[in-house]
């Protein structure tokens, strides 16, 4: 708990606010002190906590796998190498199963997405108050910040910017490969001449356009929605801690139960994000007739 002086609403609100650095409406750059200020910054703002964890975890993933790749032996693998191989094999099997064209980008892309998203999702299992509380203490102790103004969201995938950022990258790749494989005419034809033939072009464009746009949007929203909801439940359960020893104990058990169940969601969402990426890119490589 962030303290007894704030209400439940404030507590939840606090947990859902990113640590934001951006351009204040009056023109100067700085950290937002509350949710409203962050909103007022508009587009020219960056979520420092999301980016920090995202990059930290991505770098951790690459460090781990790069280290494994350098020390690899084709003889008997150690435990660590075994784990890395297991992950790589798992991703490789999925790519082989769903991706029919030949493209050296897709498998490493899938691995990056799977493990990175998995790590980011796993941050959800860290007790909701632990890291934000530490951040508050550090902020208050070293930077003289008001603890109530220190925001620190730990799970990057509960930030739509993160999921949409990745989905946008995948969307660009989809467009790129669609045009590269089928040509601009071919890609346009795919959008314009089906399902109703060339006389139904406006309807075709509308339908296919929506279907095209919905792919990255659903990809990003699915991951965001699942993790956001999961995080929200952790926060709500954490509210029980302020209700005395009985409610607090119950809350502890609930946290544990939800965390165990949430492991499933964490893996599943990382897996789904990867598989859909592979499938979408496979569709971009397919010639329709």
């Amino acid at each position: 708990m962030a303290g007894d002086t704030i209400s439940s609403t404030e507590y939840i609100q606090h947990h859902l606010t990113n640590w934001t650095y951006g351009k204040h409406p009056d023109g100067h750059w700085g950290f937002a002190h509350n949710a409203q200020e962050a909103t007022e910054m508009g587009f020219w703002a960056i979520h420092v906590d999301s980016m920090f964890w995202s990059i930290f975890l991505g770098a951790f993933f690459l460090f781990l796998f790069h280290k494994a790749a350098k020390n690899m032996t084709s003889g008997v693998p150690g435990g660590f190498q075994n784990f890395i191989e297991w992950v790589v094999d798992f991703v490789n099997d999925n790519v082989r199963g769903s991706f029919t064209a030949k493209n050296d980008l897709v498998a490493p892309l899938a691995l990056t997405i799977f493990f990175w998203v998995l790590l980011m999702n796993l941050m959800d299992l860290v007790p909701v108050d632990l890291i934000p509380r530490i951040a508050q203490e550090i902020g208050a102790a070293f930077f003289g910040a008001d603890p109530h103004h220190v925001y620190f969201k730990v799970v990057p995938t509960t930030d739509p910017n993160i999921t949409f950022g990745m989905a946008l990258g995948i969307f660009i790749l989809m467009l790129y490969y669609s045009i590269k494989i089928k040509g601009i005419g071919g890609f346009f034809g795919e959008l314009a001449f089906q399902p109703f033939g060339k006389w139904g072009m406006p309807a075709n464009l509308l339908l296919e356009g929506i279907s095209l746009i919905s792919k990255p949007v659903s990809l990003a929203l699915r991951l965001f929605g699942n993790l956001y909801a999961g995080e929200m439940i952790f926060i709500l359960i954490a509210l029980l801690y302020s209700g005395g020893i009985i409610w607090g104990t119950l809350g502890g058990f609930l946290q544990l139960g939800w965390a165990i169940f949430h492991i499933l969601i964490i893996f599943l969402q990382a897996f789904i994000f990867m598989v859909l990426t592979i499938v979408y890119l496979d569709m971009a490589h397919q010639e329709h007739h």
Binding site: L16, N18, T20, G22, A38, T39, M41, G42, F43, W44, A45, I46, H47, S50, M51, S54, I55, G58, A59, F61, L62, F65, H66, A68, A69, K70, M72, T73, S74, I84, E85, V88, D89, N92, D104, L105, A107, P108, L109, L111, T112, W116, D159, P160, N161, I162, F164, G165, M166, L168, G169
Partner: protein, 156 residues
């Protein structure tokens, strides 16, 4: 919950990470896995070849063993035959030798008998003449009775 610059920052980070993974992480791991696959396949093929060779060797050994057994029994048979032959030979030689010795003895005996007869023959006339002289108390001309004496000697 605001969409802002973070989206593009994440996009850039995403691109960088994917490129890093594609250049430095994925290829060595996959190369290693392929190498392992090849090693295992080679190992299995080698093992199979080894098994086959062993089987062949076992078959060869069995064949050789059978041959050796056959040869041994052949040699044994031959040896027995040869032994029998030798025994038979020895027997016949011994029999021959015995016969020969017997014959020689017979011949010797006959010769002795003949010689005795000859001696007797040569002396018979003399003895007969001497006997007759004693009986007749007179000289008998042996030559006048030569045919009777010869006849007597021939009867012996």
């Amino acid at each position: 919950m605001n969409i802002n610059l973070t989206l593009f920052a994440q996009l850039v980070a995403f691109v960088v990470f994917v490129i890093f993974c594609m250049k430095l992480v994925w290829p060595p791991i996959i190369a290693m896995l392929d190498e392992r696959k090849k090693k295992i396949a080679d190992g299995l093929a080698e093992a199979e070849r080894g098994m086959k060779q062993q089987e062949l060797a076992e078959q060869g050994a069995e064949k050789k063993l059978a041959e050796a057994k056959q040869q041994a029994s052949e040699i044994l048979g031959q040896a027995q035959k040869r032994a029998n032959e030798i025994v038979d030979d020895a027997k016949s030689v011994a029999v021959d030798e015995g016969n020969r010795i017997k014959e020689a003895a017979h011949a010797e005996v006959e010769k002795e008998v003949n010689r005795a007869k000859e001696v007797l023959r040569s002396q018979v006339s003399t003895i007969a003449v001497a006997g007759a002289e004693r009986i007749l108390k007179k000289e008998i001309n042996a030559s006048s009775h030569q045919d009777i004496l010869d006849d007597l000697a021939a009867q012996i």
